[in-house]
């Protein structure tokens, strides 16, 4: 048997996702629900298997319980393999040096032995907080064709948003001559998507050197990539065109969910050529009786109220006379009769009591300024009592 993998993927899934507030109080960002039946991590994992990459290390650190349980043996993504497959990699205790992952580069460095087990030619570094469909194999072929040491996937973003990203300044042949991490005055609008392919030997060399550097922040964007560039390694950009969304904030998470709506949505999930796999729940089809307009309804739902422009997750109950507009309901949520939900993101296992009012109609709510730009956020497992009221833009993580 072939004891070697051409390319191993390493998925950075340890981030806390603090800008998702109550949604990540108890779970890691990649485990946050998305699009009625998915979790964010379904996207990179599905991309891997759809690109022919069957060996994935998932690096976890922050609140990994839900994520570990969800990934399990990787079977939903066909990543249960006798050699390879998906592996959860947590920080571990070592004989001489024990530590948490200190940065993206350190997390990968601490798992250098995992990668070397597969003797890979290439290593693909991914992050677990983006929604997109991508064929990594095309990027790998470009990396090989260019005989590159490192290839960074990038896409054009509006200039006014460019300073939020790592920006690549490139020559016409695609080689990178400068890398700027979140520049105040960006020279280009080519943003790094946080997806890197390294020639494995180069990656190991730079990780080992970086580990010895006491002044390093152990970060890919700040240390590894600039170091490689300074030493004259062959760094290439790889242009991606298509849907890609960072769902690190409440409003971007809301927008990405809304991008699924419509007969011709901004982001299409029903594409059988590139299916997004997930740990599908064991629920019967959705029962629908009521006024439903331009919405997505997952299995196990009992939808009898009015639902407009919303994404309704698995096993939700929307009782007769309840109203849900412009909202994202993640899963196992009960909305009692007469309750009204507007412009909100509601996490799993929440109950909204009779005639309770959550949020305000979208046009009014958008005028509210604050951390969530008017989107009301309810955390996992809370109860909103009968006639309860939660104002637009509030973030709630305990019963009210």
């Amino acid at each position: 048997m072939l004891r070697k993998k051409e390319c191993v993927a390493m998925l950075l899934a340890g981030g806390q996702g603090s800008r998702l507030y109550a949604l990540t109080s108890n779970i890691a960002k990649p485990a946050v629900s998305f699009g009625a039946k998915y979790r964010i991590i379904d996207f990179p994992l599905s991309n891997c298997i759809n690109s022919g990459i069957d060996t994935v290390g998932v690096l976890t650190q922050y609140q990994p319980l839900v994520l570990n349980e969800y990934v399990g043996n990787g079977q939903p993504w066909d990543l249960d393999r006798t050699f390879g497959g998906v592996h959860i990699l947590s920080p571990y205790e070592a004989k001489t040096d024990t530590s948490w992952y200190k940065g993206t580069a350190n997390a990968i460095y601490q798992n250098i032995r995992f990668m070397k087990m597969y003797d890979p030619e290439y290593v693909l570094i991914l992050s677990g907080d983006h929604i997109y469909k991508m064929d990594y194999d095309k990027m790998l072929q470009a990396h090989k064709a260019a005989n590159a040491d490192c290839t960074i996937a990038c896409m054009q973003v509006p200039f006014e948003e460019a300073s939020r990203f790592g920006i690549l300044n490139t020559n016409p042949d695609g080689t990178i001559y400068e890398f700027e991490e979140k520049p105040a005055k960006p020279k280009s609008n080519l943003a790094s998507m946080g997806i890197y392919i390294f020639t494995a030997s180069k990656l190991f060399k730079y990780l080992e050197e970086d580990d010895k550097d006491p002044n390093s922040e152990k970060d890919f964007g700040k240390n590894i990539l600039p170091n490689m560039l300074n030493k004259g390694e062959r760094m290439y950009s790889y242009r991606f065109e298509g849907y890609w969304k960072d769902v690190g904030t409440i409003s971007s998470l809301w927008e990405a969910n809304m991008d699924l709506l419509g007969v011709v949505p901004n982001f299409e999930l029903s594409d059988r050529e590139h299916e997004i796999h997930s740990r599908s729940p064991l629920a019967p089809p959705a029962f629908v009786e009521g006024e439903i307009v331009n919405s997505i309804v997952a299995t196990g739902c009992e939808a009898e109220g009015r639902i407009v422009n919303s994404v309704i997750g698995t096993d939700c109950v929307i009782e007769k006379g309840a109203e849900v507009c412009d909202s994202v309901l993640m899963g196992n949520i009960t909305v009692r009769a007469g309750a009204k939900i507007n412009y909100a993101i509601i996490d799993e296992d929440v109950t909204i009591g009779e005639k309770a009012i959550v949020g305000a109609p979208i046009t009014e709510a958008k005028k509210v300024t604050g951390k969530t730009n008017g989107i009301t956020v309810l955390g996992r497992g809370i109860n909103v009592k009968k006639n309860g009221k939660i104002s637009a833009g509030e973030i709630v993580d305990k019963d009210v």
Binding site: S280, P284, P285, A286, F287, I292, S295, V297, T299, D315
Partner: protein, 368 residues
């Protein structure tokens, strides 16, 4: 619970629904939007703690195999036991089995190998929930030779092969075969429990005496010679005995009570597909319907069961229909009382109608 092995007949009573079994076996008839008929007996077994299940097949079992795979969705992909397919087994002079007894004969090797003390035999043409371990407890308590499960309900003209009378404690006193009379009866649902050794003895006996029918040659005369008991199945029960009963059994799921009884515990297992969640577009009207993943609805539907990946075009009006996986219903179509098998396309502006007792059937893969 007592150690138990399960045996499922996946291919029995197919003549009752020739439309649906033309291209598949009874066990793989699609049901309820995402299930196959075999899921119910199989899930009941798993939920009763049974970890070894033999699946007797006959012909046309490709779709069944595709559905069952290794059995992982039922947690039956095991090193010890698990799901074992039992395709027809025949010598040079024999042909495919013609009845239950012959079919079971083919499973002799499987049963001999099984270390389990008890065996549950079940068909795959019915929707019900039953903890078989309770039947086995009942069986042991009564020191029965065979325990037969029945459901008591009224039928106009019994379509059940066997009905029986019991004493208060469940002891069967009389078995009637092909009863012509209707009324409230104890209808045998073709689920039985016995010791594995007892079943093996019966099979051996049947071979020696040239018996053909389980009911006529063994159970019916067995009332006198064996200790036969009847176990009452409570709750919802529906079996597929005709196209209209298939229609009714699907429509029954639109009743909240039935839905919660069958699926409330979320423990009916089935093959998982990764279709995206159902989408209801602007301008669509949906009333009293079940909608599966992958559906895209732009028209009007009422009292329908839609399987995965069904598209309902703009302006289409679909009422009282069962539309199976990956059907495309064109714009401005008008459908009433239609059962449309998988992968069919109904072109724009078509009108198709059946009636409550005689639904209109569209063959798998049709283009109308």
């Amino acid at each position: 619970m007592a150690s138990t092995v399960g045996v499922i007949y996946s291919s029995i009573n197919e003549e009752n629904v020739p439309e649906l079994t033309k291209v598949r076996s009874m066990g793989s008839i699609p049901y309820g939007g995402r299930y196959r008929m075999v899921d119910f007996a199989l899930s009941n077994m798993v939920n009763s703690g049974i970890t070894t299940v033999g699946m007797i097949t006959k012909n046309n079992y490709q779709s069944l195999m595709d559905h069952l795979g290794t059995g992982k969705y039922w947690d039956l992909a095991r090193k010890e036991g698990g799901l074992i397919l039992l395709p027809p087994y025949s010598g040079e002079t024999e042909t495919l089995y013609k009845n239950r007894l012959e079919a079971l004969k083919g499973a002799t090797a499987f049963l001999k190998k099984a270390k389990e003390d008890f065996v549950v035999l079940a068909d795959s043409d019915a929707i019900y929930k039953l903890d078989y371990s309770k039947v086995i407890d009942f069986h042991i308590k009564n020191n029965a030779d065979i325990t037969m499960v029945y459901h008591e309900h009224e039928t106009k003209k019994s379509h059940y092969y066997m009905t029986f009378e019991t004493e208060k404690d469940g002891k069967i006193t009389e078995i009637e075969i092909n009863s012509a009379k209707g009324g409230v009866k104890k209808n045998y649902i073709n689920v039985m429990v016995a010791r594995t050794s007892f079943i093996l003895r019966i099979i051996q006996d049947a071979i020696q005496h040239g018996y053909i029918s389980f009911g006529r040659d063994i159970l019916s005369p067995g009332v006198k010679t064996y200790n036969l008991y009847g176990y009452k199945l409570e709750g919802y029960y529906a079996s597929i005995t005709s196209l209209s009963s298939y229609f009714d059994a699907n429509m029954a799921l639109l009743d909240k009570k039935v839905r919660s009884e069958v699926f409330g515990d979320r423990d009916v297992y089935t093959k998982v597909n990764d279709s995206s969640p159902a989408k209801i577009a602007e301008g669509a009207i949906v009333k009293n319907s079940l909608i599966s993943d992958g559906c895209l609805i732009e028209g009007t539907i009422e009292n329908c069961v839609l399987f995965r990946g069904v598209k309902i075009g703009k302006g289409a009006v679909v009422k009282n229909c069962i539309i199976m996986t990956d059907n495309i219903i064109g714009e401005n179509c008008n459908l009433a009382y239609v059962i449309s098998d998988k992968n069919s396309v109904i072109r724009d502006n078509r009108t198709l109608a059946g009636c409550e007792i005689q639904p209109y059937f569209v063959n798998k893969g049709s283009l109308i």
